[in-house]
């Protein structure tokens, strides 16, 4: 559905953020990008969305892309439903405004992310602005969904809700999903494929389970990590735990004195 071939980019000459990067997104599959700060994750997303011209390589998209930025500062006080309606803009001529069908579509999409109740509230005063932007991407009838750090600014419960929503959308709408995250757990939870962007333009790509190993993650973040599995009822949850050296000494619970 979308192919990235031999992508390479730098901002300072010969300081490659990434190079020879190739992967493809297919419908109903979630691909997660992980990497330390400054590894070029957002830059890669911008290249995928076509708002940044790569120094090397090519992005060939065969379908509409919907982009969900991490946050969007709106200088004007639009309502949530108007923000979603903006997703319809690509189908409107220069002198056209959204019609009844567009409005119905926008309401559906806002409902799909569970925000019908706040349709008329001001977008700039919502703390869940990214979900409105997700609804906006859905309203553009995209086949490829690109998200920059979804669920990064949410509490534990809402992280789970948003991740499940993204997985559900990928399956039910057959979307090809590409997202960045700082949480290896999130990638383990919903990603089918994972791309690790290490420093010095090195990257690793493959099925989430086989790429997200203790060794790879430790190499990427420079911190030793353990991968643990927790069994709860009939489900097994994999978690990545960093060993920051913050643990307390002693094998049992801390004793008094």
């Amino acid at each position: 559905m979308i192919r990235i071939d031999n992508a390479g980019h730098w901002f300072r000459p010969n300081h490659w953020l990434f190079r020879d990067l190739s992967f493809a997104l297919v419908p109903s599959e979630v691909t997660a990008i992980l990497g330390p700060n400054g590894a070029g994750k957002t830059t890669l997303l911008r290249a995928v969305c076509g708002t940044l011209a790569l120094r090397e390589g090519a992005v060939s998209a065969a379908a509409q892309i919907g982009y969900v930025p991490q946050a969007l500062h709106a200088d004007h006080a639009y309502s949530a439903i108007d923000m979603v309606l903006l997703g319809r803009s690509r189908y409107l001529g220069r002198f056209n405004s959204p019609g009844r069908k567009d409005k119905v579509r926008a309401r559906e999409c806002l409902h799909e992310v569970g925000l019908s109740a706040i349709a008329d509230q001001r977008y700039d005063r919502l703390s869940g602005g990214q979900l409105v932007l997700l609804a906006r991407a859905l309203a553009s009838d995209c086949r490829i969904l690109v998200l920059d750090e979804p669920a990064s600014a949410l509490d534990l419960a809402n992280q789970g809700i948003v991740l499940r929503l993204i997985q559900h959308l990928a399956r039910s709408r057959e979307l090809a999903v590409l997202l960045t995250t700082h949480h290896p757990d999130h990638a383990l939870g919903i990603a089918d494929k994972t791309l690790l962007m290490l420093h010095d333009a090195v990257h690793l790509y493959g099925p989430a389970g086989s790429v997200l190993t203790e060794e790879n993650l430790a190499r990427m973040y420079g911190v030793p990590v353990r991968r643990v599995e927790i069994h709860s009822g009939d489900e097994t949850v994999a978690a990545i735990v960093p060993l920051h050296g913050l643990g307390r000494s002693g094998s049992a619970s801390p004793a008094n004195g």
Partner: protein, 355 residues
């Protein structure tokens, strides 16, 4: 199954977006206010024409009315006041519409035709035209070219720094305005005091006193063309107000749209400056007042701002005409009303950034 996937209580309670109520009542109210302002403006003045006579003189064009008015009253209404009040209304409508569009495009409610240097550019163009060709049709052309040139200059300065875009934009406007003012000063200094200077000074003062049917026609045509383009592209302005990168991800290419919008804005502003000189503050203050009433959505903001601007300038011009024994320039009235409102907006804008 996706219903209630995120509980609404996960989000901060927010105030209902302004303007979600019936806009038709508002449009009707504004139209009535405009008609009332126009009629009041034609009645009042040093030469009082009774309200009934104004109505009768206007109605005589549509139906047979037995003349109850004096010939002088007819001349005052038809030749002096009617073109003047209509010019003021259209100028106010155009300025406010352009102000609202510029504020959307530059993502900044403190931008106006004056703050970004377009008005002073138009003034410089007009003065240059008077200087070389005398007072006439070239004033319009000069005003348009001056407006376009100053806008290009502001954009060139603005782009060179992206650290604090809003501040650079306003400062770029100040710089270009100052440059234009200096050149206007030089033009008035070297202008022939017998022939050119009176024309220049009179024109620069900014007044509707010289309004005529021919000037009104020119202003109407330019404002109508610009207005059709600007109001027609009201949804695109919503898209562009999110910033270039976001507009591109929404499938809209901002560059050409912005050129069209800015050209239309220049056309309307320069037509106004050409007809009545520089009139400040209208295009800055009125869109902000309109935004307080109907919210930021340009689909509603543009028409409401246009109507409010028309009412505002007709009232301001009537006050300028009748407040004192000698007429004061309308620009003084708009500045007296506009500056305190602008100060209030500045303060409100500064405080709202820190929650």
């Amino acid at each position: 199954m996706t219903q209630d996937i995120v509980q609404p209580q996960a989000f901060e309670p927010a105030r209902r977006a302004p303007g979600a109520w019936m806009p038709i009542t508002l449009y009707a109210g504004l139209c009535l206010a405009l008609i009332a302002a126009l009629l009041w403006s034609m009645v009042s003045g040093r030469y009082q024409v009774p309200f009934a006579h104004v109505i009768a003189i206007l109605a005589a064009h549509l139906t047979d009315v037995t003349p109850t008015w004096t010939p002088t009253e007819r001349i005052v209404v038809e030749v002096v006041r009617l073109p003047r009040v209509l010019t003021a209304a259209i100028a106010g409508a155009g300025l406010s519409l352009c102000g609202a569009v510029l504020q959307g495009l530059f993502r900044n409610p403190l931008v106006g035709p004056q703050t970004i240097g377009v008005s002073s550019g138009a003034a410089l163009g007009g003065v240059t035209a008077i200087l070389f060709f005398g007072f006439g049709a070239f004033v319009q052309v000069g005003a348009f070219l001056g407006a376009a040139a100053s806008l290009l200059a502001v954009l060139a300065i603005h782009r060179s720094d992206s650290m604090s875009p809003i501040l650079t934009l306003v400062l770029a406007g100040v710089v270009v305005s100052a440059f234009c003012s200096a050149l206007v000063g030089m033009a008035t200094y070297i202008a022939d005091p017998e022939t050119k200077l009176p024309d220049i000074v009179f024109w620069l003062l900014g007044s509707f006193a010289s309004a005529s049917w021919s000037k009104l026609l020119l202003l109407s045509v330019c404002t109508a063309i610009a207005g059709a383009v600007l109001i027609g592209m009201r949804w695109r302005i919503n898209v562009l107000s999110l910033g270039d990168e976001d507009a591109r991800t929404l499938g809209v290419h901002p560059a050409r749209d912005r050129v069209i919008l800015l050209t239309a804005t220049c056309l309307a502003i320069s037509a106004q400056v050409g007809v009545s000189g520089t009139i400040g503050w209208v295009g800055l203050v009125v869109p902000n007042l309109a935004r307080m009433i109907v919210g930021a959505d340009h689909r509603r903001l543009l028409p409401v701002s246009t109507l409010m601007g028309a009412v505002f300038l007709v009232v301001a011009d009537t006050l300028a005409r009748d407040l004192t024994a000698a007429e004061i320039p309308v620009g003084i009235v708009t500045a007296i009303v506009g500056t305190p409102v602008f100060a209030y907006l500045l303060r409100r804008n500064a405080t709202s950034k820190t929650p």
